[in-house]
C-alpha cells in the first residue's frame, strides 16, 4: 500500500502538546483582556456579589466564544500552510487505488425513521460502493429499533424489495431487535455481538448519512494503512436541506466548516472525538474495550450512558488506539433538522446525554483531551442557562445602578491610561465580543477568496454576502429561542423528567405547521414580552442593548414557522440565497439519492384515513407477502407455556372482533412479535365471515378488493 507523507504512528507527542498549549495560550490572550475590561467596568461602579457572579459567568461564556474564534484562526492558518498532521495525508489516494479485501460492515441503526429516506440512503451507498468497485467484502446492515409498527413493517418489506431490486441478497441485511435496550449504543453492540467477528471494520451511518463508495473505500484504506488507529471520524457536510433553517445551516457549515474542522484537528490530533455516525471503527478493539458500562446511581447523571459516542472515543483512546478526525473527506454528508422545533427536540436528546458526562470527567484513565471533549460537550448546552443568567444579572445590575446611582470612578481604572468613558469602555467590550463572534465568518470568507471555483459554486460574492448577512441575522434572532429551549431542557433533566426520544423528521416531513409553532413558542413570546416590559421600565437604553434578544423571543412564532417553510426555502434557493456547491454542482452521490428517493406523491391506492393509524398491522396481517416476510423474520419460539398461548389467543380474538383500536400498542407489538399469532391472524381474518369481523377489518379487506389496484407495499414501488 502506498503511504502518504504523514504517519500517525510517528506523531510527535511534543508537537501535539505544543499545539494544545498554543491554543490554550491564544484562548488566555483573547479572553484575559475582555475579562479585565468587564472587571474594570464593575470596579468603576463598585463591586458587589451580583457583579462577581456576572463576571464569573461572563468569563466562562467568553472563553467559549474565544474558542470558536481561535479554532477558526488556527484552522485558516494551518490550511494555508498545509496541515502536515492530517489523517488523510497518511495515504496517497491517487497512487493507492487497488481493490481492498478487508471485511467491512456498513451499518445503519434506525429507530422509527422515514423508511423511504432510509432505504434511499442505503441504496445510494450500496450502489456507489458497487460502482466504485474497490471494496470486495462489504456488507450492509439495516439495524432497526423501530417501535412504531407502521415503520417496522414497512422497513421489512422495503428491505426485501431493495435486496431484490439490487440483486443484493446476502449483501444487505436487516435486523430488528425485540427490545431496544440501551438505544443506539445497544443497537450497535447487538450487531457486534452477533456478527462483529465477521468483519474488520464497521462504517457507521445515521439514517440521514450520505457516503459515497469512494468515501467509504477511503475510510477503509486509512484504517488498513494505519494499524494503530481505532476510529476515524469523517467530518460531514450538511446537504439536502429544503427549509430556510436547513439550508441556512448547510450554507454556514459549508462556508465556515472547513476552517473550524481544521482548527479542531489542529489540537485534537490523535485524540479526536466520535460523533456517532459517518465514521469507521476497527471492530476488534471496539468490541474489546468500548462496551459501555452503566454509570453508578440513577437519575440524570447515572444509569445507562445515553450519549455513547464521546465515551466510546475516550475508551478507545484509553486502550491505546488513536482516534482521528478526517477533515475534507469528500462525498461525505448528513442532513439536519428542518425546523426550530425539531432542532430543539434533537438538542434535548443530546443535552441529557452530554450532562451525564459530568461523571466521566473524573473517571480514571482517560486522556486529558477526552476530558476536554466531555467538558466542551457539557458547556455547549450549559451555555444557554448561563447566558440567561448573564442577561438576568445584567438587568439586575442595571436596575441597581439606576436605583442607587453609584459614584463612577470616571478617571480611574483603565480609564486612567486609556481615557475611556464608561459607555466608551462598554462599547469597546461589545465590539470586541461581536468581532470575535464574527471572526469565524470573516475567516470563512477569506478562505473562499482563495478558491475562485468554490466561490462560483456558492453563486458569486453577491450571493455569499447576502447569505452571510441573512444567516447572521436569522441566527441572532433564533439564538435566544434556543437559549430558552436549552434552559428548559436543563431544568427538566435536573428535575429527572424523562427524555422522550422523538424521531427527527427530515425532508418534507419536517416542514413547519402554524399549530406546532404556536404551541412550541407561545411561552417564548410571553417571556419576551414580559422581559421587554421589565427591561424598558429599568432603563430604555438597556432595552435597546438587549433588543436582538427580546425581538427574537417576541417574534419566535412567525420566525419558527417562516424558517421551517419549504416553500420559502425553495423561493430563496431560486433567488440564489444560501446556495452551496452541493446545490449548484451536486456530486454523484447526492444526485443518486435524489433519484432513489421516490416522490412522496399520492400513492397508487390511497389508504383510507381511518386505516392509516394501524396500517402496518393491517399489512402484516392481511397482505400475503408482507405477512410471510414478517413471520420469516421473527424468531421461531419453542413451545409456549399454556398461559402464554391463552393470552395470545385472547389478544387475537380481541383484535379480530374489536379491531386494533381496542388494543394498546404494547399488545399489538406482542402479537406482531409472535410468529404463530401472525400466521393464525392472517388465516383467521381472511376466512372469517363479515359478521365476525370488526368493521375496521371489513374496511381493511375491502382495501384489497378487485375493483381497484392492489394496495401499495414496498414490493410494488419501482425506482428509476
Amino acid at each position: 500500500m502506498k503511504a502518504g507523507p504523514f504517519d500517525p504512528a510517528r506523531l510527535d507527542a511534543a508537537l501535539a502538546s505544543r499545539r494544545r498549549f498554543l491554543v490554550a495560550t491564544l484562548l488566555l490572550v483573547t479572553t484575559g483582556p475582555a475579562v479585565s475590561v468587564m472587571a474594570d467596568l464593575h470596579w468603576r461602579t463598585g463591586f458587589d456579589l451580583w457583579k462577581i457572579a456576572h463576571l464569573a459567568i461572563f468569563s466562562l461564556l467568553f472563553l467559549l466564544v474565544a474558542l470558536g474564534a481561535v479554532q477558526a484562526v488556527v484552522g485558516f492558518w494551518i490550511r494555508r500552510r498545509g496541515e502536515p498532521c492530517s489523517i488523510l495525508r497518511s495515504v496517497d489516494f491517487e497512487e493507492d487505488d487497488g481493490v481492498l479485501d478487508a471485511p467491512t460492515a456498513v451499518v445503519m441503526p434506525v429507530c422509527n425513521e422515514e423508511v423511504r429516506r432510509v432505504i434511499a440512503g442505503l441504496r445510494a451507498a450500496y450502489e456507489s460502493v458497487q460502482e466504485h468497485g474497490r471494496l470486495s467484502a462489504c456488507d450492509f446492515f439495516l439495524l432497526s429499533d423501530s417501535t412504531d409498527p407502521n415503520r417496522w413493517i414497512e422497513e421489512e418489506a422495503a428491505w426485501l424489495a431493495l435486496t431484490q431490486q439490487l440483486g443484493a441478497k446476502g449483501r444487505i441485511f436487516y435486523r430488528k431487535r425485540r427490545v431496544g435496550l440501551n438505544k443506539k449504543a445497544g443497537n450497535i453492540a447487538d450487531f457486534c455481538r452477533r456478527w462483529g467477528r465477521h468483519y474488520r471494520y464497521m462504517v457507521v451511518l445515521d439514517a440521514d448519512s450520505i457516503l459515497s463508495g469512494r468515501a467509504i473505500t477511503r475510510l477503509v484504506r486509512l484504517m488498513e494503512r494505519n494499524r494503530g488507529v481505532g476510529l476515524v471520524q469523517a467530518a460531514p457536510l450538511l446537504a439536502n436541506g429544503e427549509t430556510i433553517l436547513a439550508r441556512l445551516q448547510q450554507f454556514a457549515s459549508r462556508l465556515y466548516g472547513p476552517t473550524a474542522g481544521a482548527g479542531l484537528n489542529f489540537w485534537q490530533l490523535s485524540e479526536a472525538n466520535y460523533w456517532g455516525h459517518n465514521a469507521i471503527v476497527r471492530l476488534e478493539p471496539f468490541m474489546r474495550h468500548c462496551s459501555l458500562p452503566e454509570l453508578p446511581g440513577d437519575g440524570p447523571f447515572g444509569g445507562r450512558i445515553m450519549s455513547h459516542d464521546y465515551v466510546e472515543a475516550a475508551l478507545m483512546r484509553r486502550a491505546g488506539w488513536q482516534v482521528w478526525l478526517a477533515v475534507d473527506l469528500e462525498e461525505n454528508y448528513e442532513e439536519c433538522p428542518a425546523n426550530v422545533i425539531d432542532l430543539a427536540k434533537r438538542d434535548r436528546r443530546w443535552l441529557q446525554g452530554n450532562l451525564q458526562h459530568t461523571r466521566l470527567i473524573v473517571a480514571r484513565g482517560f486522556h486529558a483531551v477526552n476530558r476536554v471533549h466531555f467538558i466542551l460537550g457539557i458547556l455547549s448546552y450549559l451555555a444557554s442557562p448561563l447566558w440567561l443568567a448573564l442577561l438576568a444579572l445584567s438587568a439586575i445590575i442595571a436596575a441597581d445602578n439606576a436605583r442607587i446611582n453609584p459614584a463612577i470612578y470616571a478617571h480611574l481604572g483603565f480609564a486612567r491610561h486609556l481615557h475611556w468613558s464608561l459607555t466608551g469602555e462598554s462599547l469597546v467590550l461589545f465590539f470586541y465580543t461581536i468581532g470575535l463572534l464574527l471572526l469565524p465568518k470573516a475567516i470563512g470568507l477569506l478562505e473562499l477568496r482563495e478558491h475562485p471555483g468554490e466561490l462560483a459554486a456558492f453563486g458569486g460574492w453577491a450571493a455569499v454576502w447576502k447569505g452571510v448577512g441573512l444567516e447572521t441575522g436569522i441566527f441572532t434572532l433564533l439564538a435566544p429561542v434556543l437559549m430558552l429551549f436549552h434552559t428548559q431542557f436543563v431544568v427538566l433533566t435536573l428535575c429527572r423528567q424523562p427524555v422522550s426520544w422523538g424521531t427527527q423528521r427530515r425532508g418534507r416531513e419536517g416542514a413547519s405547521a402554524w399549530g406546532e409553532a404556536i404551541r412550541g413558542h407561545a411561552g417564548h413570546t410571553a417571556v419576551g414580552l414580559i422581559a421587554a416590559a421589565c427591561v424598558w421600565s429599568i432603563d430604555p437604553r438597556l432595552a435597546a442593548w438587549m433588543s436582538p434578544v427580546l425581538l427574537g423571543l417576541i417574534l419566535s412564532i412567525p420566525l419558527s414557522y417562516f424558517t421551517g417553510s419549504i416553500e420559502v426555502g425553495a423561493a430563496w434557493r431560486r433567488s440564489g440565497i444560501f446556495l452551496t456547491p452541493e446545490e449548484t454542482r451536486p456530486p454523484e452521490v447526492l444526485e443518486r439519492i435524489s433519484r432513489c428517493l421516490p416522490e412522496l406523491g399520492p400513492a397508487s391506492r390511497p389508504v383510507p384515513e381511518h386505516l392509516t393509524a394501524d396500517y402496518g398491522l393491517l399489512q402484516a396481517v392481511l397482505d400475503p407477502y408482507v405477512n410471510a416476510v414478517h413471520v420469516a423474520l421473527l424468531r421461531e419460539k419453542d413451545d409456549l407455556p399454556a398461559a402464554s398461548e391463552e393470552r395470545f389467543g385472547a389478544l387475537r380474538a380481541q383484535l379480530v372482533c374489536a379491531g386494533p383500536g381496542a388494543l394498546p400498542l404494547r399488545d399489538k407489538v406482542s402479537l406482531l412479535l409472535d410468529p404463530d399469532s401472525m400466521r393464525l391472524l392472517h388465516d383467521e381474518v381472511w376466512a372469517a365471515p363479515a359478521e365476525r369481523l370488526d368493521p375496521w377489518w371489513r374496511q381493511a379487506i375491502r382495501h384489497y378488493s378487485m375493483v381497484a389496484p392492489a394496495p401499495e407495499t414496498p414490493f410494488d414501488r419501482q425506482v428509476a
Partner: protein, 201 residues
C-alpha cells in the same frame, strides 16, 4: 348486526324458501368476493384468471358444504383455497410434515422472493405437477436477514471514579516538559495582566 348463529340458521333453511335462497346466494357471493380479493392480494396478474380460479374454488366449496352444516360460505371457500395452496406448495417444496399454515407462509415467502406472481395463475391449481425449474426456484428461495451468527462477548469497560481527578490523572497524555513551559508562559501572561490591573486600580 346479524349474529353468526342467525346466519347459520338462515343458511340451513330449506332451499325452496326464496328469501333464504337469496340470502344463501348472497353469502356465496361474499365468499366469491373474499376469495377473489385474497388472490388479488397475491398480486396475481389477469382479472379473468383470478375470476375463473375464484369461481372454481367457490364451486368446490359449495359442493363440499352441501353435506355439512355450520360452516359459513366465506370460511368454507377460504378453507378450500388454503388447502389447495398448501397442497401446491407441498408439491413444489417436495416436503411433508410441516403444518399447513406454516407451509403456506413459507410458500408465500417463496413466491415474493422469486417474483412468480405474474406467471402464477397459469401454473397454480391447474392440476398439473409443478414444473421442476419452478419447484427448484421456490425451494431455493431463502430469506437471508443476516450472515451466520458468530456470537461474541462485549464485556463492559470498567470505570473507576475519583472524587476529583488528581493532577497527574487530569493531565494524562500531555507531555510534562511542555506543560511546565506552557504553565510558565501562562503565569507570565496572567502576571502581566495583573500588573496592568494593579497599576491602574
Amino acid at each position: 348486526m346479524e349474529s353468526t348463529s342467525a346466519l347459520r340458521e338462515r343458511s340451513l333453511a330449506p332451499q325452496s324458501d326464496p328469501a333464504s335462497l337469496s340470502a344463501q346466494s348472497e353469502a356465496w357471493d361474499d365468499a366469491f368476493l373474499r376469495v377473489e380479493s385474497y388472490l388479488h392480494a397475491h398480486r396475481i396478474q389477469g382479472r379473468v384468471a383470478i375470476h375463473h380460479l375464484a369461481a372454481a374454488l367457490v364451486e368446490e366449496a359449495k359442493r363440499e358444504s352441501a353435506g355439512q352444516r355450520g360452516t359459513p360460505p366465506v370460511t368454507a371457500a377460504m378453507n378450500v383455497l388454503y388447502r389447495k395452496m398448501a397442497a401446491w406448495y407441498s408439491q413444489a417444496f417436495g416436503e411433508g410434515g410441516a403444518s399447513e399454515d406454516a407451509l403456506r407462509s413459507r410458500g408465500r415467502l417463496a413466491l415474493v422472493m422469486t417474483h412468480l406472481e405474474a406467471g402464477w395463475p397459469r401454473e397454480f391449481l391447474d392440476g398439473r405437477p409443478v414444473r421442476p425449474a419452478l419447484a427448484e426456484a421456490l425451494r431455493e428461495s431463502r430469506l437471508e436477514a443476516g450472515p451466520e451468527l458468530r456470537p461474541a462477548s462485549m464485556p463492559a469497560a470498567p470505570l473507576e471514579f475519583a472524587v476529583a481527578p488528581a493532577g497527574v490523572e487530569a493531565l494524562r497524555g500531555l507531555r510534562r516538559p511542555g506543560l511546565i513551559q506552557a504553565a510558565g508562559l501562562w503565569l507570565a501572561i496572567i502576571g502581566a495582566m495583573g500588573a496592568a490591573w494593579a497599576s491602574s486600580h
